[in-house]
């Protein structure tokens, strides 16, 4: 990777003495789906809007393919496709006219390209109908079509799943996967829906109060020793005592008739053997992956406002 598609350098936004976004610095490489996670009011939307120039930066710089958004806005924007919240289209125009409208802003988008994108999103049957007769899901697809017409290097989605039903969310997720794989587009998604982000993103940045708390790779997180092992036995105190000799007692937790243990998945056979040898009746033993939500709450100190 020679250059990151998006580079943020000390991006800061202050409004009336209040710091909304505080010194954000990170890079997004090509072909990555990058999630922006944080409670409402954490500064996700503000950051995204600063990247696309809707909101001015108080300090810092955003570079898209090395081009400064502030100094060379038009050039930087040729690399960007955006879906900002619910894609509001011109309702009195047809879907095709809407696409023509957005295509005209870029150089060299042919009719063939428009038709190709329309077909790719399965809109060909109703593309010549007025957008006011479209369902929300179709508008969302038209929004994606508009954003990818000019083959951008960076796709920006601000709360894209707001107002979509589960099928629509799933559809959107599949498109994003396809786009990143087939066209090598990098994607930034902001959302407060954790489960969504978990399914969509390669890496997430967690921000709170305008500050970057953490960036983590979800693949690593999944593989890492962040698994909880739930053990159901007849004699909990005995099991606890037994396991305390092998595992750190601090990593154990009794909840009702269950014993919770944070350990590698690979430890399960070992634990089972120990319990069986000690003649403790084992009702069940299984691994639960620590969800992003748990990790998120851990990082933000449980101040999740959804």
């Amino acid at each position: 990777m020679t250059e990151a598609v998006l580079q943020l350098r000390n991006v800061t936004k202050k409004i009336g003495g209040r710091t909304i976004v505080d010194n954000l610095t990170f890079d997004i490489p090509a072909g990555e789906v990058f999630g922006f996670l944080g409670p409402n009011g954490a500064g996700k939307t503000t950051t995204i809007r600063m990247i696309v120039g809707l909101i001015s930066m108080t300090k810092g710089e955003a570079l898209i393919k090395g081009v400064s958004v502030r100094n060379y806005f038009e050039l930087a924007m040729t690399h960007v496709g955006a879906i900002v919240e619910n894609p509001e289209m011109y309702k009195f125009l047809t879907g095709y006219q809407n696409l023509t409208h957005f295509a005209r802003r870029h150089n060299g988008i042919t009719k063939e390209r428009i038709n190709e994108v329309v077909a790719m999103l399965g809109l060909q049957n109703r593309i010549h109908e007025k957008v006011k007769r479209y369902s929300l899901g179709m508008r969302q697809r038209l929004g994606v079509a508009q954003a990818i017409l000019h083959r951008p290097s960076l796709l920006i989605l601000d709360e894209p799943t707001n107002g979509l039903d589960p099928a629509g969310i799933r559809e959107l997720r599949d498109y994003l996967r396809k786009l990143t794989k087939e066209e090598g587009i990098s994607v930034i998604v902001s959302s407060h829906l954790l489960s969504e982000m978990e399914l969509m993103c390669d890496r997430v940045a967690i921000i709170q109060g305008g500050k970057l708390m953490d960036i983590r790779s979800l693949q690593e997180t999944r593989d890492a020793a962040q698994t909880k092992i739930i053990i159901e036995v007849d004699d909990i105190p005995a099991a606890e005592q037994l396991l305390a000799s092998v595992f750190d007692a601090a990593r154990m937790n009794t909840i009702g008739s269950q014993l919770e243990l944070t350990a590698d998945k690979e430890a399960i056979p070992h634990i089972t053997k120990l319990l069986v040898n000690a003649e403790i009746e084992v009702m069940g033993i299984h691994a639960v992956q620590k969800s992003l939500e748990d990790q998120f709450l851990e990082i933000t100190g449980g101040e999740m406002v959804v």
């Binding site: 809007r49 809707l54 038009e74 040729t78 900002v84 509001e88 011109y90 409208h101 005209r104």
Partner: protein, 319 residues
Amino acid sequence: MSSLSKLIRNENMKIYMRPRTWIMIGFLLLTVALLSGLMNWEASRNPSTDWEQSLTEDNNRMQQELQNNQDLHENQKADMTEQIKLNAYYLEQGINPKEPTLWDYVDISSNLIILVTILTVIIAADMIAAEFSWGTIKLLLVGPASRTKIMVSKYIATMGFALLLLLLCFGSAFAAGGILEGFDGINQPLLSVSESGIVQQSPMILDILPKYGFAVISLIMYVTMAFMISSAFRSSSMAIAFSLLFMLVGNSVTMLLSSYSWVKYLLFANIELSRYMEGGASPIRPEMTLSFSILMLVIYYLAFQFIAWLLFTKRDVAA
């Protein structure tokens, strides 16, 4: 990077694909048709078969008044002398001045430019504010076109719409006049009395174009003001309401306050340049001159453009 001409095509598409625009155009054409019909009906109601007799009578009456009435003002005397000369010319050439010609219809249509102005003000006020109302502003601004470019394209498209309405107004009145009175009236000259006291002819269009010209100046001012208001408010209904309010109330308020000398600095006191022309109403303040008003209009125009630009390009789009 977007080319300006393509952006203008986009804005035009957004103007002309809305049914509202065509209702406006239909309304304008209907008004021209109604006015022309009314004029034709009025002329046919008073058939002027004995026009030669009535012109002779008029001239005799004015001659007598000139000789007998000592209280007549100098201006009135001059007007009457001119009218007598013109009437004599009509009689001599066999032209019935009461018989409307094609050009009378076009002349009347210049009064409808106020309607053109109102319709264009509605479009202009909606131009930026509507994008905010629709929520499309975000997608519009996130593209390879600077905000200045987008604003310029919107302004040019608005002015294009004004030009279209003006051409339609002129053209439909011309057509109505031609259909109702015959297109041979096109060569009808304008008769006037020169300073040396001779009846002279000049092309009719030269009399009508200035009327359109003055009306277009006020149109440009009101539309630019509406455009500025549009970039200030982020709701189209507010922008339309305020633009029309300013336009309609501004004039009467200026009249009411005309005893104060600072009134001359208001836009509405300067917007009617025809006041300085021959036969126009006098300026609002006696000390006002044509060059003063032109200067004020230029200052207002630049201020409107600058404020609109500032409001549109420098503010954050948050909602």
